[in-house]
């Protein structure tokens, strides 16, 4: 079966075409977005009013449903009044690519509308700090605990059942509690990231540790390794490449908790920026901010993958990313 599959997929192989596929995986969704935005007959369920004509409640720049616009045109024609004019448009929540692109640019170059509101890059920097501290605190505890649980069966039985229970509790549920304990600023946000990451982290890393080839530990023991040196000289270097990969995945999860975390207490960071812009119907800015989150997430992951290849030259799996 394997052979059949790989043969039929042969045209998708090779380094050149694989690079092409990577590019295509980004180009295709953007292309779809551009088609929907720029080709009028594809969707465009609204009409952007350019001339009000005799309709008293129309305003220039207003978006009305196409059916309603057509009704008004018919009515005005029967009444013999000036006809309204307009062009097909998409709803306000779907800005065109060029609008989002220019919003991406202006968000960094022009001051925010409300005085004292943070710039986009300030919001982003705040968010990144929240992620960083939540993830570092979680890892500082979760990685050692995970390794211990994966190495010693007794320790695993002592800790994992409770952690297994706790990880099903949704992190945002602790929002109110976190605010009560840690105040309304960054404390509770970091706590939510921590709660969302830590419990998964212990279980995943314990599992990774357990998957280490027992023969390596046995070989080390026959070579005279004992006690804590088994962990520092064999288990730790043995799992390090997999541990690194786990951490990359967990960092991705930490990002998904970010938006929830930032809504807790006083809204801050990129979430504040997004909710604020949505309130003023600046959806181009909203999309710009969402795209930036994606770019930062993917960019940091690619960076970490490249770093992994440098750090672990012996690990074949790193090459696959």
């Amino acid at each position: 079966m394997q052979a059949f599959l790989s043969r039929s997929g042969a045209w998708l192989k090779g380094p050149a075409s694989s690079r092409l596929l990577v590019v295509a995986s980004f180009v295709l969704p953007v292309l779809l977005w551009a088609l929907v935005s720029y080709v009028p007959f594809l969707w465009h369920p609204k009409v952007l009013v350019e001339e009000v004509g005799g309709v008293d409640y129309f305003q220039v720049g207003m978006r009305v449903d196409r059916a309603e616009f057509d009704d008004q045109v018919k009515e005005m024609r029967e009444a013999g009044e000036a006809l309204p004019a307009g062009r097909p448009a998409n709803p306000i929540y779907l800005p065109a690519p060029h609008e989002v692109a220019s919003a991406l640019y202006t968000a960094f170059t022009t001051a925010p509308e409300q005085r004292g509101a943070p710039w986009l890059h300030e919001s982003l920097w705040h968010s990144i700090q929240i992620i960083f501290w939540g993830f570092v605190l979680s890892s500082a505890l979760g990685v050692p605990l995970g390794i211990l649980a994966g190495t010693y069966a007794g320790f695993s039985r002592l800790t994992e059942p409770f952690i297994e229970f706790f990880r099903y509790l949704p992190a945002p549920a602790f929002g109110a509690l976190a605010v009560a304990v840690l105040g309304i600023y960054d404390g509770p946000k970091i706590a939510i990231i921590f709660i969302g990451t830590f419990f998964q982290q212990v279980l995943i890393i314990a599992n990774t540790t357990r998957k280490l080839d027992r023969t390596l530990i046995e070989a080390a023991r026959t070579l005279g390794t004992r006690g804590s040196r088994l962990i520092t000289r064999v288990v730790l270097p043995g799992i390090l490449p997999d541990l690194y990969r786990d951490q990359r995945i967990l960092l991705g999860w930490a990002w998904t908790y970010l938006l929830v975390a930032e809504l807790i207490g006083t809204s801050s960071g990129i979430t504040f920026f997004i909710t604020q812009q949505a309130r003023y119907q600046h959806f181009d800015n909203v999309y710009a901010a969402i795209i930036i989150i994606g770019v930062i997430g993917l960019g940091s992951d690619l960076l970490l993958a490249a770093l992994g290849r440098k750090l672990f030259p012996w690990d074949q799996a790193q090459k696959r990313g």
Binding site: D213, L216, E218, A219, L223, P313, Q316
Partner: protein, 304 residues
């Protein structure tokens, strides 16, 4: 045996007999006395080893052979200290064995090199663990890499080496600790036939030139006869010693001896011990009924 035209495997030439007499005069390195090993299993207890006793002298090459499930691996892992025995004694130089230690080197069947260390650092691992300085460990490692002919690969990672090379490094890594005995658990089992026979001669070379006693597990009769002074034959379910055979094939060994009468006689005896004809029918492994296979191709599309 005589009706097949072969001499008895018990017949030894004078040189061989003299050699065994000399071996017996050497001190005993490893002594196993009434070793028992029982596992807890779902349906009660499983007995892996029953009353196993034998002695190995200094610089002897002993192979352990037996059908699958005879406890070969359990035996060697117990000797290495990786598993606890239920009863009996394992004495190394007269002292009881407790847990794994540097005095018993081990080479595993799977590739057990540390993938995150270069070849040289793998060999240095043992000396460093016993408190040698980096420089001293490096010096010893270089000597051993020279000896196994892999100096060129000192800075390669294990995944860059072939299977045979990896096992050579594993042997060097075990020997650099200067163990009293080298325990080898089917070390060449995963290699192709050609590499395997090259590794066998290589191992004999090392053994000839170094003060080392070897206990070698295999399921390959030719390999056992080619390498061993004596062959310990185990019976499965539970593992018990059937016979401890002195191999009558003279040394130095060469692949040409594979067809010598002594070799064939020994092989016939091992065959008879491991595959007794009457037990064949009620075996629980591969020797049972052949499965019937449905025709999955066109009836007219015959290959025979």
């Amino acid at each position: 045996m005589t009706q097949s035209g072969l001499p008895s495997y018990l017949e030894q030439s004078d040189a061989v007999r003299e050699r065994f007499a000399r071996i017996r005069e050497r001190e005993v390195i490893l002594e196993v006395r009434n070793l028992h090993k029982r596992y807890p299993a779902p349906g009660g207890e499983t007995e892996a080893l029953r009353d196993v006793s034998f002695r190995i002298h200094r610089r002897e090459f002993v192979c352990v052979i037996g059908a699958s499930g005879c406890g070969k691996s359990t035996l060697i892992r117990t000797l290495a200290g990786l598993e606890k025995h239920s009863a009996g004694e394992v004495l190394l130089d007269g002292k009881p064995v407790d847990g794994p230690g540097r005095d018993r080197g081990m080479v595993f069947q799977g590739y057990s090199l540390f993938p995150w260390l270069t070849v040289k650092r793998n060999v240095m691992f043992g000396p460093q663990m016993s408190g040698h300085s980096f420089d001293a460990a490096e010096r010893q490692a270089r000597q051993w890499l020279e000896l196994i002919g892999l100096s060129k690969f000192a800075d390669s990672y294990p995944h860059q080496l072939s299977g045979g090379m990896r096992q050579r490094v594993a042997i060097a890594r075990a020997l650099v600790n200067q163990p009293r005995i080298l325990l080898m658990d089917e070390p060449f089992g995963a290699l192709d036939a050609q590499t395997r026979s090259r590794m066998q001669s290589h191992l004999l070379d090392i053994w000839r030139n170094i003060d080392i006693t070897i206990l070698f597990i295999t399921h390959d009769l030719d390999e056992a006869i080619y390498l061993a002074d004596r062959i310990l034959v185990l019976k499965p379910h539970p593992g018990e010693v059937l016979e401890f055979i002195e191999v009558p094939v003279p040394r130095p060994r060469t692949p040409a001896q594979f067809s010598s009468p002594e070799f064939l006689a020994t092989k016939a005896r091992l065959d008879a011990l491991i595959h007794p004809p009457e037990a064949e029918a009620d075996h629980d492994d591969d020797s049972g009924d052949k499965p019937s296979i449905y025709r999955l191709t066109d009836v007219a599309d015959s290959v025979e």
